[in-house]
Assembly symmetry: C2
Homo-oligomer: 463 residues x 2
C-alpha cells in the first residue's frame, strides 16, 4: 500500500531489518485485542532508538503517510489498529531499563519495556511498581502511558499517570520533547507530560519514560464477600475504607461468577450464591489491622449488607479468590463480548447500575449482561455476551443500539464513556458523551499544534 | 486606563459593586508578594459566579483588554501582577465550599476558597487536605491550582496537581470547560485538567474545582539534625526514608538559622552550630516506628553524617523546630532578598549545591546567600540578601548577573528554573533554561488554541 517511491525512501532511512512487509507480520501488528477491525497495515517498522523514530516521523510527514504507534497491542478500544494502510511503528525492540536512581526511586524505561519486566526490576531492587492488570505480561510501558493504563490497584496507587516522572516523546512533527526531565517538582510552563499521557498516540510517540517506584506493599488480607443488594455496596466500601487501607476493591455479578467457575472448572467459593460479590484486599501490617478486618466484616454481616464471606487463610487461597475476578475476561472471550468501560462518581454508582439494569432487562431481555469492575474507582466493565444463535454482525448492530442507551445514562450521570480503556477507534463516536463540543474543538486545536499534518494515529480518538 | 466606552460596556455586564476603580484597590490587587513591579491595573472586578467571569472574558475579548486572574496574590514570581493596564479579575468573592462527597472523599471549592478554609473543612469531617505552605492563610485554591502550589508536604503527598479531581475553567475565549468531572478514572481524551494546572492563568481562569481529601495523618515525630557536610545529606535522607515514611524533609543553612534566630529572638536549638540542618517529620504510628527513629538517628551519628540533633518531645517543641524552618522567609524580608527556586534530580543535588557555592563565593563575595528548601524533593530556595550599602537597582542588576550563572548550572544539571513558584513575569526570560525552543513554540501554539486573542495574563510565562 506504500508506493514504490515511498518504500524506497523509507528503506533509505532505516536498516533493512527494521522494516517488515510480509502479510503475517502486517496482520499481527495491525491489530490489538479487540479483533473488531480487519488489519490493513502498509508496513511494520521496528526502530532501535529515538533517532530512528524521529526519522520515520519525518518521513511520514514528507510522504503524507499515517503512523500507528504500537506497544503490546493489548488495548480494548482499537487504539493500536492499523486498518487504513498506515505504517505501524512498533517500539518493542526499544526495551532497555536503565538509569536506576535509588535516591529518587526512579528508573528509565524505553517505551517497549514490558510492564512485568518493570515490576520485576522494582522487586529486584526492594521496591514496587504498583500499576498492575491482567495484560502486564505483554503490555508495554509506552502503551501504558499513551493510554494512562489503570487496573486493579488504582484505588490505592492511582493510574499510570501518577507514576511518570518524565517522558521523552517524538511529536507528530518529528521534534524530540523532554517532558518534565524526571523531576519531582517543576513548575516551568505547561505540563506536556500529562498531555501526552492518555493521548493514545495522536500527538506523537512516547519513546522513553522515567518511572517512579515506591515501597513494597505491606502484608495484606484478601476477602470475598457476597451481597444480596447492590445498593449496599458503597456502605461496605465506606466501612472498610474508614478502618483500613484498601489495596483493591473489586466487584462482579453472579453471572460473571458462573462463567468464570465454568471456564476454570472451579467450585464456588461460598456455600450459597448471591447476586453480587466484592473482592477486597486490605493492608494488614499489624495485628490490630487484622482484628479490624474481622470487626468490619462482622459489622457488615450484622447490618445485612453482606450475607456471607470468606477471608483467605493463605497466599494460595488469596490467589484463588483473585483468579475469580481476574479470570472473568478470559472466561467470556468465547462469547464475543461487547465491552463497555464506564465510570461515574462513586456515590452515584449504585443508582446508575440500578437504572441501567432496568433499561437492559426491559429492552434487551435476550442478552446476558455481565457486570464487573474496579468499583472502588467508580469503574464498571459492562459486558454483553453474544447469544449463540445470533450472527456476529446482527449482534454488533444491536450492541450499538445498547450503547445509545448506556451512554445516554452515562451522560445523565456526568460519567466517563471510557474510564480506563481509552477511546481509540471503537469509542470515538461517543466522545461527546463525556466531552463538550467546545472541548472536542479544543482537542482538535491541540492536536494540530503537535501533529500539524495529521499523521499520528489517524482516526483514533478524534474523527 | 480603560476608555470611557470600555468602562461603559463593562458596567453594562456587571453589577456596580463588582467593579472597583479607586487607586487603593487598584494598587492592592495589582500586585503579589514580589513587590518588584509597580502595579498599574485599569480596574479590579469581583465576579460572583461563573456567568459573570464568562461575561468579563467575553468583554475583554471584544475590547482587546488584558485580564489578570487574581487569587490570594501570594505568588513569588509576579504571576498575578497587573502592570500594563489590565483588568484584574479577583475571584475572592467566589469562596463557597460545598458538594462534600464522603464516599469519593471529594469536595467542591470555588476558586476563592482560602487554602486554610479547605484544610479546616477537611478536619471538620475527619479528613485531611495535605497541601500546606506558609501562605495557607491567604492563598486561594484557584491560585494554588493555577500555579500547582507545592510546599512542605510534597515529599509525602505531592503537589496541588495530585489533589484536583476535576476543575471548571473559563477559557481565554470565554468557554466554560468541565475538566475531568471529578472522576477517579476518565480516559476520554486529552486531560485539560492537567494542562490548566500550573498554566498560571495564561489559558483561562480556574473558577471551581473538585478537590480530593485523604485520611488524617498518623502521629509523627519531628527531628532537627545538624550536618557538617552537605555531601552527606542524601545518605541521611536515604537512611530515614528506607526505614520510615517521611512527612517532610526540609533543609536550611547555618546563615539561614542565624537570621531566623535573630528575627524570632530565639535561642539556638542545638549546643553547637554546624553548616547545615535538616528538619524531618516522620510517621510514628506505632512503637516500632518510634524505635526506628532512634536507630536511624544513631546510625547517622555513627557514620558521622550527623553530629548533633534533637528529637521533639512534645507538640510544642515540634512546633518550635518547625518555626525555625518556616520563619526563614519572613526573617529575611527586610533584606530585600532575591529569590530563586530551582530543582534538580535528587541524587545530583549535593554536587549542584557544591558547584553553585563555589561560583557564588568566587564571583559574589559581598553577597550573603541563604540556602533552604524542600530538599527531599530536590527543591532549593536560593536567597541572595541585599547588602545594606547597595542601592536596590544596583542589587537587582547584580542579581540578574547571578541568575545567568545559577541558571547555566541548572541547565547543565537538567533541572528546573522554577520548581514550585512558577514562571510569571520575573522568571519568564529564563524559561529556556528548562524548556527547549521547540517546547516553547508548542506552548505558544497551545496558548493560541485556548486564548486566541491573547487576553489571558498577557506577558506572563510567555513573552
Amino acid at each position: 500500500m506504500l508506493t514504490a517511491s515511498q518504500l524506497t525512501s523509507l528503506q533509505a532511512i532505516l536498516p533493512a531489518d527494521r522494516i517488515h512487509l510480509d502479510a503475517e507480520t502486517c496482520e499481527r501488528y495491525g491489530q490489538d485485542w479487540t479483533r473488531y477491525t480487519t488489519p490493513r497495515a502498509a508496513a511494520i517498522v521496528f526502530p532501535m532508538g529515538i533517532e530512528e523514530v524521529q526519522a520515520v516521523v519525518r518521513w511520514a510527514n514528507a510522504q503524507g503517510v499515517g503512523i500507528v504507534p504500537s506497544g503490546g497491542r493489548t488495548g480494548l478500544s482499537g487504539g493500536a489498529v492499523a486498518a487504513q494502510g498506515e505504517v505501524v511503528v512498533s517500539l518493542e525492540r526499544m526495551n532497555r531499563i536503565d538509569g536506576f536512581d535509588p535516591l529518587a526511586r526512579t528508573v528509565r524505561c524505553q517505551a517497549g519495556v514490558i510492564t512485568a519486566a518493570l515490576q520485576q526490576f522494582a522487586a529486584d531492587h526492594g521496591l514496587y511498581y504498583p500499576v498492575d492488570f491482567a495484560s502486564s505480561g505483554s503490555s508495554q510501558i509506552g502503551g501504558n502511558i499513551a493510554t494512562n493504563a489503570g487496573g486493579i490497584r488504582v484505588v490505592r496507587y492511582g493510574m499510570t499517570r501518577e507514576w511518570v516522572a518524565g517522558l521523552t516523546a517524538v511529536s507528530g512533527s518529528g521534534e524530540v520533547l523532554e517532558c518534565n526531565l524526571g523531576l519531582a517538582k517543576n513548575n516551568a510552563g505547561y505540563d506536556f507530560r500529562h498531555l501526552f499521557i492518555g493521548s493514545e498516540g495522536t500527538l506523537g510517540l512516547v519513546v522513553e519514560a522515567t518511572m517512579r517506584l515506591t515501597d513494597l506493599p505491606p502484608a495484606t488480607t484478601v476477602l470475598l464477600l457476597a451481597l444480596p443488594r447492590l445498593a449496599d455496596i458503597m456502605a461496605v466500601f465506606h466501612a472498610f475504607r474508614s478502618a483500613l487501607t484498601l489495596q483493591a476493591f473489586e466487584f462482579f455479578s453472579d453471572l460473571a461468577l458462573t462463567h468464570v467457575l465454568a471456564a476454570q472448572q472451579a467450585t464456588a467459593p461460598l456455600a450459597e450464591r448471591q447476586p453480587f460479590y466484592v473482592l477486597l484486599e486490605l493492608e494488614t501490617a499489624v495485628q490490630s489491622q487484622e482484628e479490624a478486618v474481622l470487626q468490619v466484616f462482622s459489622a457488615c454481616l450484622e447490618q445485612g449488607w453482606v450475607c456471607d464471606g470468606v477471608i483467605a487463610q493463605s497466599q494460595q487461597q488469596a490467589k484463588s479468590l483473585w483468579r475469580l475476578r481476574e479470570g472473568i475476561s478470559a472466561a467470556i472471550t468465547p462469547y464475543t463480548p461487547y465491552k463497555n468501560d464506564i465510570s461515574v462518581v462513586l456515590s452515584r454508582l449504585p443508582q446508575f447500575v440500578a437504572r441501567l439494569q432496568g433499561v437492559l432487562a426491559r429492552d434487551y431481555p435476550d442478552f446476558e449482561v455481565l457486570w464487573y469492575g474496579h468499583i472502588g474507582d467508580g469503574n464498571l466493565h459492562i459486558n454483553v455476551l453474544k447469544p449463540a444463535s445470533w450472527a456476529l454482525e446482527d449482534f454488533r448492530h444491536a450492541c450499538e443500539q445498547v450503547n445509545g442507551q448506556v451512554f445516554a445514562l452515562v451522560a445523565e450521570f456526568a460519567g466517563s464513556m471510557s474510564a480506563e480503556h481509552g477511546v481509540g477507534l471503537l469509542k470515538r463516536d461517543y466522545l461527546g458523551v463525556t466531552r463538550s463540543a467546545e472541548e472536542i474543538a479544543l482537542m482538535r486545536g491541540v492536536k494540530a499544534v503537535f501533529d500539524p499534518n495529521c499523521i499520528m494515529n489517524p482516526g483514533k480518538l478524534l474523527a
